[in-house]
Symmetry: C2
Subunit: 321 residues, 2 copies
């Protein structure tokens, strides 16, 4: 009987490594902020050293680990354990990270997209407990998702399934995503879109209660600022939050029609907008779905807190069981 | 070793019943056009009588059947074998058709959505041969779809998964679907939308080469008329076909991002528009997907002909194997 899990979350600013109990609790973790510019081999060494140090500090052996799960944003070819492309690490392309880390350990190493990892974490330890299928949608700077069908992640042929953020929800939109397309869910609804949406409203003559200095750089508008605006009843902030909620509601409706899951779990930074946001998401969904819901269907909020990245990554090792 | 299959396709105008070989070939079939207004029990009797007559006429016994598959448009709760709603049969609501037919036979009876049935038929006998996963999209009066994952239909919690026709692709559209929503794929791209699209172009001052009498009723515009228009190089017909192909291309791109399947198969009446239509679908898809295709991905056309309804229904019995 293996006792613990290890999760590694390769973020755009933080590299988080953590030991996790089989019930999803965090035993210990370490966070580095100097990984982004490192060449591939140095990153592998850093991950390896982090894991070994955490094991040592907490008096565990490698053999106490059931597996090491690594989550990374971007396109991951799951079956080969390869990072095809990622915006989180500079210059990485078609890099076989899984096998490179595996060389330093004798227990299984799993590499997957970070949204898939978070989805599986939420499924095992969070809002998905008790379900056998669900879809997880994380709404943050970008929009990621993971699909769980019959207790397993559904990844598709490359491993890039669940990219609902890139599905087109308004081809006439003038909002462009980092992928280059206009009108995908990500371009319309996530953190990335906020500066543009804010500037657009101001240019249209709307007045914000937020205290913006002369010559303010709209690119610094983010979810936190709009949360502040929401709390002070700023009409511009509220309109943007409603717009985002509207498109996420459409996204959820589209997932409902496509996959008919019993549960969709929402996570990510923009959920800090709270009930005002969630109510708009649910309202939009129900206005579209109306009488087409024939069995219990739930829209829930992530129950795993800010450690979802490492907990999710660690949970990947449980899929092997 | 069972020798043959039976497929029943409950259409909006035709009730087709057929004996099918295990290789998908049609042994014999009968078509009725008087089923739509019949009460539930009479429909069950009609289906039963058709199957027994076909068996008798072709010198088979019931025990020669591996199973009876029934395909019906609408919302089907697969696990219970219940027609929740269907526009093809008047007044049917929450009717347990599967069990009602099952009472008359000792071999398994399976009831599923007609698009699921067609998808599985295409998977077993058509363009899906050799794949283990695919999505089938049928573009006709409406748009239906079926998802196959690891050699089985994926149905979701009710059994209504794959309703890509109802996913919203343009919320600003003024085209309304029978479901009541505006801007779903079905409202923008399928046969149902053609009269509206045609009238819109004419009202906008475009000139058609089609010979339309004074006071022409646009509601009679259908795929056949536009095919005629395409063949005579009518600019209005061509524009509408391009518009439909554009939205189907978006729909396929969305399916690609959501499910990352190795294959999407297109079927349905509007495919008779041929290469002009298919090229627009593929062009739109590739303009969106660009460098996000990392493994072989194919857009293919249905290889099963007009008998796809009964062949698909019959193929449902093979999923049990």
């Amino acid at each position: 009987m293996k006792k613990i899990l290890c999760g590694v979350d390769i973020g755009g600013t933080k590299l988080s490594t953590s030991l996790i109990r089989l019930d999803g609790g965090v035993i210990d973790k370490c966070i580095d902020c100097d990984h982004v510019d490192k060449p591939e081999k140095q990153l592998v060494e850093q991950i390896t050293a982090n894991i070994n140090r955490l094991l040592r500090n907490n008096e565990y052996q490698e053999s106490d680990l059931q597996g090491i799960g690594i989550g990374c944003a971007g396109h991951i070819r799951f079956r080969d354990g390869v990072i095809i492309t990622t915006s989180n690490l500079k210059g990485y392309k078609d890099y076989p990270l899984r096998d490179a880390v595996q060389e330093n350990f004798s227990i299984p190493v799993i590499l997957d997209n970070d949204a898939n990892a978070q989805a599986f974490g939420e499924f095992k330890f969070g809002a998905g407990k008790g379900f056998d299928s669900m879809v997880f949608l994380t709404i943050s700077t970008g929009i990621g998702a993971g699909i769980i069908i019959n207790n397993r992640l559904y990844r598709g042929s490359t491993g890039t399934a669940g990219e609902f953020g890139h599905t087109i929800v308004n081809p006439d939109s003038d909002l462009t995503c980092t992928c280059g397309n206009r009108g995908c869910l990500m371009s319309c609804a996530c953190g990335m879109a906020l500066p543009y949406l804010f500037e657009q409203k101001i240019r249209a003559g709307k007045t914000t209660l937020l205290d913006l200095p002369e010559g303010f750089d709209y690119s610094s508008i983010d979810g936190h600022m709009l949360k502040k605006g929401l709390d002070m009843n700023d009409p511009v902030s509220k309109e943007i939050i409603l717009d985002s909620g509207y498109y996420v509601g459409i996204g959820i409706y589209n997932i409902f029609q496509a996959l008919n899951p019993p549960l969709i779990v929402l996570g990510g930074g923009l959920l800090s907008w709270g009930d005002f946001y969630l109510a708009q998401i649910k309202r939009t969904f129900h206005e579209l779905a109306r009488d087409m819901i024939f069995d219990p269907f739930e829209i829930a909020v992530s129950r795993i807190g800010p450690d979802v990245g490492v907990i999710g990554a660690a949970s990947l090792a449980l899929e092997l069981c």
